[in-house]
Symmetry: C2
Subunit: 319 residues, 2 copies
């Protein structure tokens, strides 16, 4: 097949949904596909769903299977990209050493690449998003937990055991220093992950202090902070300080000039603005630029598309 012909599929495997997109070799998305993964833990079932999605996407576009050149999938856990194995996901899915690449290649009959889902999002932000053309940057996914996709010299940095950027465990002023128990969230995400922000709110909440309900999620709390509600502003300030300290530490260690905030919580404009404010007053020498993701919830699938394109091209070159 000529380099520019054919199609790829990018997939994002999440705890609540599986999202796929079909694209040309130029990265332009032709169609999307989505299915719930609530309650699904078995990797074989996920592989079967991806297969169904790929067939659906091709059929919708009146394309034969033979035009499919490669597939890439982002997985929500530590992923050995070279071996094609998902080493571990969080307790929700509970995967351990799943040979996802081999399972998908056997099922789909095309070259497959796998990657951690925060890293696929970082790929997309670097190719077509907020970090387009930037050599060194960090993509921060702030959702239920917190993870970082680190791009150095234009390439993803994976670390010795594929778990670089697990910054949910970072220790900064204000975080707990208690030893980490297996399966429990890390110190940083316990404060500024979605669940941590909810927990902050609930621990400060009393009927005397606010008219708002006790049961709010992080983005609702930040919405109220934007309207000036005092308790919500307190939680926002604490969250922004803690996140700013983590970004500052990353900037100091990696000498990294750009951070891109993504994830449902990280994308919130109130958190972005307040975090920027803290960073601006910390240290004149260390002033990393802080941008919001331009791709939002599409970042992961988009990154998987670009990874699939690279896979198709490198297979074509080596054959």
């Amino acid at each position: 097949m000529a380099p520019e012909t054919g199609y790829v599929v990018g997939a994002d495997i999440g705890g609540t949904s599986l999202r796929l997109a079909l694209a040309g070799m130029d990265g332009n998305v032709l169609a999307k596909w989505k299915v719930s993964t609530a309650g699904i833990r078995d990797p074989q079932v996920v592989v079967r769903l991806i297969h169904e999605g790929v067939e659906d996407l091709l059929k919708q576009n009146f394309l034969p299977l033979s035009v499919l050149r490669a597939v890439a999938a982002g997985a929500p856990g530590v992923t050995d990209v070279d071996a094609g194995i998902v080493i571990a996901t969080s307790y929700l899915m509970g995967w351990r050493n799943v040979p996802l690449r081999a399972l998908l290649e056997a099922r789909l009959g095309v070259p497959v690449a796998i990657e951690n889902d925060v890293n696929t999002a970082a790929i997309a932000e670097g190719k077509i998003g907020a970090a387009k053309g930037i050599r060194d940057f960090v993509f921060l996914a702030v959702g239920t937990g917190i993870g970082a996709g680190i791009v150095l010299n234009g390439r993803l940095f994976h670390g010795m055991n594929w778990s670089a950027g697990e910054i949910g465990y970072m220790l900064v002023p204000g975080t707990s220093v208690s030893p980490v128990k297996t399966g429990e969230p890390g110190a940083l995400e316990s404060l500024v992950g979605g669940e941590g922000i909810k927990a902050q709110w609930q621990s400060l909440w009393s009927a005397n202090r606010t008219k708002l309900p006790k049961d709010l999620v992080a983005t609702q709390i930040f919405d109220h902070a934007l309207t000036g509600e005092p308790l919500a502003r307190t939680v926002l300030r604490k969250s922004a300080e803690t996140l700013a300290y983590a970004i500052y530490n990353l900037a100091v260690v990696l000498n990294c000039p750009l951070f891109v905030l993504g994830g449902t919580v990280g994308m919130h404009p109130a958190l972005w603005e307040a975090t920027q404010e803290v960073l601006a007053h910390r240290d004149k020498r260390v002033q990393p630029k802080l941008l919001r993701s331009t791709l939002g919830p599409d970042a992961q699938v988009n990154g998987a598309i670009h990874l699939a394109i690279d896979t198709a091209v490198s297979r074509a070159l080596s054959s």
Copy 2:
């Protein structure tokens, strides 16, 4: 000249002394040379001293200038390795944008390489020291301040503006969160650099609490901690906790399996042991190995020798 013939000189420029060593192309040191730099700030004077040292070393060994193939120098500040410029050193020397490589090449007439001094120490630990053969590791220099030399995929990681590893500014539980003023030490080194440890001691000291004098340096305090003196043990514990949190953060971000402690304070066995103890109880998943430098105060000059050898070899290949 054949690849294996000839000699190189490695130099370490410090605030108190300038150290040089002459070596063969196998890295074996033939002779050392040292001169005080107390009170010397002028880069031209440092260049002249290096020239004198190089001539002395060759003369001592009955070698003509023609056998010298390259020189490398470590400088105590942010160093642009590509441009050969020392961008900034601490207020003690006060260098700003000194074209050290060009100055030395003009004076010595041989190829010269320059590098940050913590990075030269990291080079040496990776070539012949505690991290020999390890692909990813961090060398931590704990002296008056704290700096890190980060080696990833077997190469020094410099960052976007040559200041990766400036971890003296890291924020961990227990450090101040006050904004950093220009020229002042960072939050982490304010607690566990040599001066910070002294300050901890002095702030806790009272004649009722200890029979030891108020005026002790960090290594003396740690010596007393080893004998069980309670106040010294308190300072040791706090210092070790803070250092362990910083190492933990680096391990989490970089997924780095090995840390080498160097510098006069960092080499102290009491700090090493106590820091290891804190790390061992923090997190089962994140258990970086912690070793003491095997090269000690020779690490910087030794790393410069290896950098000079690489410079000589690469010039020979490109000419």
